[in-house]
Amino acid sequence: MVKSNYIIELTNITKSFPDKVVLDDVSLSVKKGEFLTILGPSGCGKTTLLRLLAGFNTATSGEIRIDGEIMTDVPPHLRPVNTVFQRYALFPNYNVYDNIAFGLKLQKVDKKEIEQRVKRALKMVGMTDYEHRDVQSLSGGQQQRVAIARAIVNRPQVLLLDEPLAALDLKMRKDMQMELKEMHRSLGITFVYVTHDQEEALTLSDTIVVMNEGKIQQIGTPTDIYNEPCNSFVADFIGESNILNATMVRDRLVRFMDKEFECIDEGFGENTPVDVVIRPEDVYIIRNAEAAMFHGVVRSCIFKGVHYEMFVDTPDGYEIQIQDYNCFEPGEEVGMMIKPADIHVMQKERTENHVKGTMVDATHVEILGEVFECQEQANIEQGAEVDVAFNFTAVELTDDSEDGTSWGIIRFILYKGDRYHLTVRTDDGENIYVDTHDVWEDLDEVGIKIAPSELRITPVKSK
């Protein structure tokens, strides 16, 4: 068998629990010696992915290889990986020394060697002379150091870290980040690190894997992920950003906020709807409105330490977030400029909603698990399967979930400068997307109404 230079290979991993799919067909390869971070909001499946690697859970389908060996169903104690847990998980019945020596004793390593290796591990995490302390007498940061020592002393091929710094305070977290990076360099083993903190991911990683809703959104270096987010979720999750609807007029020319801007992206075709991402630090703000590409009025200005964060309203109703070292007073008229290279154009993931449905009768169609009224469809017979399309703006959301024809829960909110783009998970598990000017909150329960004239129905060709 040819040994690849990938230490971990996940192929088509799916993990479902009785009530939901946590990982949906995830494939991922990790290079030897890499510092890989799995980043995503809570509930995106990142911890489950790590637990599959450690062996605490087994995948519903798919294959896991570690160092070329198939490990899909191998129990945790036989895997060449060690884990650092979020809540440390130190054994309270052992002292620091015995906690760290736990793995080595099980491997029946010689006593003298155990002592040497434990001492070296303690030195590595900066906890020399703590051998005989009771673990429960240590602070959170110290406990996490012991937990790291306990894992690395076994010289695993892969170290798995499950949000190891999440329980520490900010200052301690920053220090530990540097130490982890240093440890990774000197140990030379592969780190797989799970976090929901995008800054931590950008600081530590060689490679970042952004996950959402059980799917990998993007894999890349921190600079790639930050500068070239591949979709609006990644752009929104990593750092601050202005995400706007736009039209690619032709190569190197994009139109948004009713103005044309030069950019450097090509190959999207002509007059294609796209999303543009502009980082707040990439918008230049000046007092002289004459020379500017577009202008607006400052609405708010907040001091953030290094820079000021401002929100500027443009005359045609867009809101632009800007970071600048200079402060502009609210109410002030300002001009703004964006360099072509700072306009990042992304393919739109979707331009309208598409759902599958069944005709109930000539004027009713069943979609999203409910019966919706539609315009009369003379040519489609009753019970036929149909494709139903409707615009993002066609959906009306109601406060009371009883008021709508169907109902759903708001799962993701994306601000697009002049409107919100919502992802609504409906009652029967399908996602629909809604553009609205109203302010909703994440996880709000809403009723869903669609005007009959907005549903565009086409029959599915039967085989």
Binding site: F56, P76, H77, V81, T83, F85, F91, L106, Q107, N154
Partner: protein, 266 residues
């Protein structure tokens, strides 16, 4: 007048007066009386003759040793039966576990005498002889829930990530048990032992009923002496038993205290 009344009740420490009175009358005074009677001879003077009698009279001392033996056997059987039960219960999902734990505790709602009489009837029905075997069965039957519950409580609260950490560090399922789960469940076991061993030493009703008065336990001996008007000797025997129980609870030190706090029955 009224203000003094209000003032008296507004001081929180005054609320404890009824309880202090209760403790003095029903716990402290009887204990002092036991001490007093134990060191008193029949004619009223101070003496150690009651204790000398215990040492010189093999009958009472033998009963004492036999009682401790029975208590030990009962405790050990309770651990052997109770631990696996608690272990399985702790792994069940919580609603199922709650029902099963309830089933174990349900018999406790019935008076111990009723339960024991029912056991006698059961043995009769099955034509099993009453005696030592029946006695141990009865003791285990009566005290098993007191062993299961504290162990279940400790196991159920145990952080699952500790088990995962052990597996992750290379421990086989057996090693996970011997090196992590079992040591960490010690407080539950200690608490269970305290709740089984101590009361079993002084049981007498179960012994009387399940052995048709053929086997005497130490509790029975004390009861007989006091019933027959031998207050001084009975008091001395009670004092000896108290001291022994006191010593066992010393062995279980602070760890047990902790366990009793979070592992006690209900």
């Amino acid at each position: 007048m009224q203000s003094r009344f209000v003032k008296f009740f507004s001081r929180r420490r005054n609320w404890s007066i009824p309880y202090v009175l209760f403790l003095v009358v029903f716990v402290v005074v009887p204990l002092v009386l036991i001490m007093f009677y134990a060191f008193q001879s029949k004619d009223g003077g101070f003496s150690l003759e009651n204790f000398q009698r215990f040492i010189n009279q093999p009958e009472a001392a033998n009963t004492f040793i036999y009682s401790i033996g029975i208590a030990l056997i009962t405790t050990i059987i309770c651990i052997l039966l109770g631990y696996p039960a608690a272990y399985v219960l702790a792994r069940l999902n919580s609603s199922t576990a709650r029902v099963v734990v309830m089933l174990f505790i349900l018999p406790m709602w019935v008076n111990v005498l009723v339960r024991t009489l029912a056991t006698v009837a059961l043995f009769d029905f099955l034509k099993l002889p009453l005696g030592e075997g029946a006695l141990i069965f009865g003791m285990v039957y009566n005290f098993l829930p007191f062993m299961i519950y504290p162990i279940y409580n400790v196991l159920q609260k145990m952080d699952r990530s500790l088990i995962e950490a052990a597996e992750d560090l290379g421990a086989t399922p057996r090693q996970v048990f011997t090196r992590v789960v079992f040591p960490l469940s010690m407080p539950g076991i200690v608490s269970g032992v305290m709740m089984v061993f101590m009361p079993t030493i002084s049981t007498f009703a179960i012994a009387e009923l399940l052995t048709m008065n053929n086997i005497k336990l130490f509790g029975t001996t004390i009861q007989e002496n006091i019933n027959n008007g031998m207050w001084h000797y009975g008091a001395a025997l009670s004092l000896i038993m108290l001291v022994i129980i006191g010593i066992t609870s010393l062995f279980t030190d602070s760890e047990a205290e902790e366990a009793a706090n979070d592992g006690g029955l209900l």
